[in-house]
């Protein structure tokens, strides 16, 4: 009731008029009533009635709102956050080396960006994750569903079928080896048709459709509460042509990033984006850098860069709040994303001089 007028969800012009007329708290508005209000500020009675209704709803909502509900500010300690993070699931990638450098796999509630040249395996990893998110909990998965937003048309369902079939077979082998009852039960629902039916596919043909789709995602995720992965493959394609005004592009991308962060947090989902590479022409040489500019680099929490070394595919963890910068080798087989045989060796960061601004983290001396 003591809520300040400036914080109420009214039209800005109306708020300005209320402030000019001297109203300071919501209680004063409610006391004045619609006739008095319309006379004081010079708006019609209908508008005054509407405004008061909004105010009443807000105040009622404030009183009824329990601490910790959506929208209210939540207070918690860092210890609580740590415990929450430690119980957070990861979506495994089936390449144990990549899972290791990520700290367990693709993390829920965070945005992970995968950058790389064409053909290096970004879409393959996205398809693998869309299958892996559905692995039942007894096999170490998060038992979720996936949303796949395709802007380039590179989602080939035959390939997803191969990956899903290999994943189901893998789980069958584990179940046979371990012979536990809940494994058998989980395998009844973990079939090819079920996996395919829980990948929700959206095709966006330009950036307007992509923006519209992201506006609709919160509602979609509220209806499909089991979704734990949102993939946008690729985020760069619709934004790299057709923009005379680059500041508009930056603004739209920032807005998109904010919406995705809120989505990831509210629905406990992982967001995975794929980005293209572009050439940056330096003083004496040109290097490949992720597209969409410097400011886009801040959007993702975790950034992976896929690149080639002759014929070997490498993945470098370029940005992460908790893991060390490292490079591993991976393989793409007919079954999907896999390790290189034998198990991959983690290269030390000194060799990979990808981010000259960061001090390489050195191993602590262990006694």
């Amino acid at each position: 009731m003591q809520r300040e007028v400036g914080t109420l969800p009214l039209a800005p012009a109306l708020r300005a008029r209320l402030a000019a007329a001297g109203f300071q708290t919501a209680q004063e508005l409610l006391d004045t009533g619609p006739c008095g209000l319309s006379k004081e500020i010079g708006i019609s009675r209908e508008e005054a009635l509407e405004a008061l209704q909004v105010v009443r709803q807000e105040c009622h909502g404030d009183a009824a709102r329990t601490p910790g509900g959506p929208g209210a500010t939540r207070k918690c300690t860092a210890l609580e956050l740590l415990e929450e993070e430690q119980t957070q699931g990861f979506i495994i990638t089936f390449c144990s080396a990549l899972d290791n450098i990520l700290g367990g796999g693709v993390q829920l509630t965070k945005i992970t960006e995968i950058c790389g040249a064409p053909g290096v395996g970004k879409t393959q990893l996205c398809m693998q994750l869309a299958v892996d998110v559905q692995i039942p909990e007894c096999f170490g998965g998060v038992a979720g569903e996936a949303v796949f937003i395709d802007t380039e048309g590179s989602f080939m369902v035959d390939r997803v079928v191969d990956i899903a079939a290999a994943c189901v077979q893998h789980c069958h082998l584990i179940a046979e080896a371990q012979q536990e009852e809940d494994h058998q039960k989980a395998l009844e629902t973990f079939t090819l048709e079920n996996i395919l039916s829980h990948i929700y596919y959206f095709r966006c043909r330009d950036y307007t459709e992509l923006l519209a789709q992201v506006y609709l995602l919160p509602e979609f995720l509220a209806e499909h509460s089991k979704v734990r992965l949102v993939v946008i493959d690729g985020i760069a394609f619709p934004f790299r042509h057709d923009f005379e005004d680059l500041s508009l592009r930056t603004r739209l991308l920032n807005g998109l990033a904010q919406q995705l962060i809120i989505l990831a947090n509210d629905h406990r989902a992982a967001v995975v984006l794929t980005n293209q590479m572009t050439t940056r022409i330096g003083q004496s040489q040109s290097t490949l850098v992720p597209a969409l500019g410097e400011s886009w680099g801040h959007a993702a929490t975790v950034r992976l860069i896929f690149h080639w070394d002759n014929t070997q595919r490498l993945a470098t963890l370029y940005k992460s709040p908790s893991q060390k910068e490292s490079t591993i080798a991976y393989h793409i087989t007919c079954q999907g994303f896999r390790d290189v045989q034998p198990a991959a060796v983690t290269h030390s960061p000194q060799g990979a001089e990808l981010n000259p601004r960061k001090r390489p983290r050195t191993e602590e001396e262990k006694q």
Binding site: T208, E219, F220, A236, M277
Partner: protein
């Protein structure tokens, strides 16, 4: 834009008209705060507007992967592909060229790129049952004159190449009538061609294949090293337009590309290798890249019949979302390009 047809509050509709907002794109381009200021509405109203407008744009757009997999309709199915006319080559590509997206055929000169391009123009005219799309093709020449004599030869020999198709069906198809040839030697003509004439032909349903021979030729003389940014903008623009046409009309776009020599110094001295022209900007626009090369044979391998002594032609998949990197051998004969098992 007729805002009255949207399911919106009359107050919102009045505000939209007053603020002179003409399209959904304009609404989505503005941030929530800008919209509030422009239309003088509360944030709840703006959220409602954004959701309604997004719903209208994206109505019924969700499919599950299972629906995609089970779709057997000729027009929409992902399983439908454009055959190359030879079973060995089709096996390499798991059916043929995908219907949506830009496929690139890169290779040195006289590797056989134009041959495959012409062969595809004929293959597209066959019925769905035989791997075609029952429609014509557009062939855009940017450099040389269209090889009409070779096309005539290929048409005469179709029965020999497509032994799997009954003779009556081949005789009924009027191959020459459905191939539209366009010449576009510079960027502006090319731009006109794809934005006007191509969309017209595609909209009328007369063609379901576009072959561009070649992309690199358009950029050779007009751009020096200093104009890389301008060239990149053109490439991205063309790529986006072709991609959009391909998606709208479910038509494969095959771009023939030339190759550059890359001199790279590595630990073992200066080496050189062949790489498709136009750089990473163009590679980013592609769905699939095929490379045709001619490698000199060291000597006849024991047990294999080598029809062309001295050099082996190889068709390899460089990248594709649904194919592993693989290759097969092929020959160019009178009746066309055929793979060798």
């Amino acid at each position: 834009m007729d805002w009255d047809q949207f399911d919106l509050n009359p107050k919102t509709i009045a505000a939209l008209k007053k603020a002179d907002i003409k399209s959904v794109k304009e609404i989505l381009n503005l941030s929530g705060a800008d919209l509030q200021r422009l239309m003088k509405l509360s944030s709840a109203d703006i959220q409602c507007l954004l959701r309604t407008v997004s719903h209208t744009l994206r109505r019924n757009s969700m499919l599950t992967a299972l629906q995609l997999y089970q779709d057997k309709d000729h027009f929409t199915s992902q399983h439908q592909k454009l055959s190359l006319g030879c079973s060995v080559l089709d096996n390499l590509l798991k059916g043929g060229i995908p219907l949506v997206g830009i496929t690139e055929l890169a290779g040195e000169s006289s590797a056989g790129k134009t041959q495959i391009g012409l062969q595809l123009c004929l293959c597209v005219q066959y019925p769905y049952k035989y791997g075609g799309l029952e429609s014509g093709a557009v062939y855009i020449c940017t450099e040389d004159v269209f090889p009409s004599k070779r096309l005539q030869q290929l048409i005469e020999q179709q029965q020999k190449l497509r032994a799997d198709v009954p003779a009556e069906i081949i005789q009924r198809i009027r191959f020459g009538n459905s191939i539209f040839v366009e010449q576009a030697a510079d960027l502006d003509t090319f731009q006109q061609c794809i934005s006007r004439r191509l969309s017209l032909l595609l909209a009328r349903g007369m063609v379901r294949l576009v072959v561009i021979d070649s992309m690199a030729a358009l950029f050779r003389c007009e751009f020096g090293a200093a104009q890389a940014a301008l060239r990149a903008r053109y490439l991205q623009g063309f790529g986006a337009q072709l991609h959009s046409l391909s998606t709208r009309f479910r038509t494969p776009i095959v771009c023939i590309n030339q190759v550059w020599w890359l001199f790279a110094s590595c630990s073992m001295g200066v080496g050189s290798r062949v790489t498709p022209a136009l750089g990473i900007t163009w590679s980013n626009q592609l769905l699939m890249r095929l490379m045709l090369s001619r490698a000199p044979l060291p000597g006849p391998a024991p047990g294999t019949a080598s029809p062309c002594a001295g050099s082996m032609r190889t068709l390899s998949v460089v990248f594709a979302p649904h194919l592993p990197p693989s290759f097969c051998y092929y020959t160019v004969q009178l009746e066309g390009v055929k793979g060798i098992k």
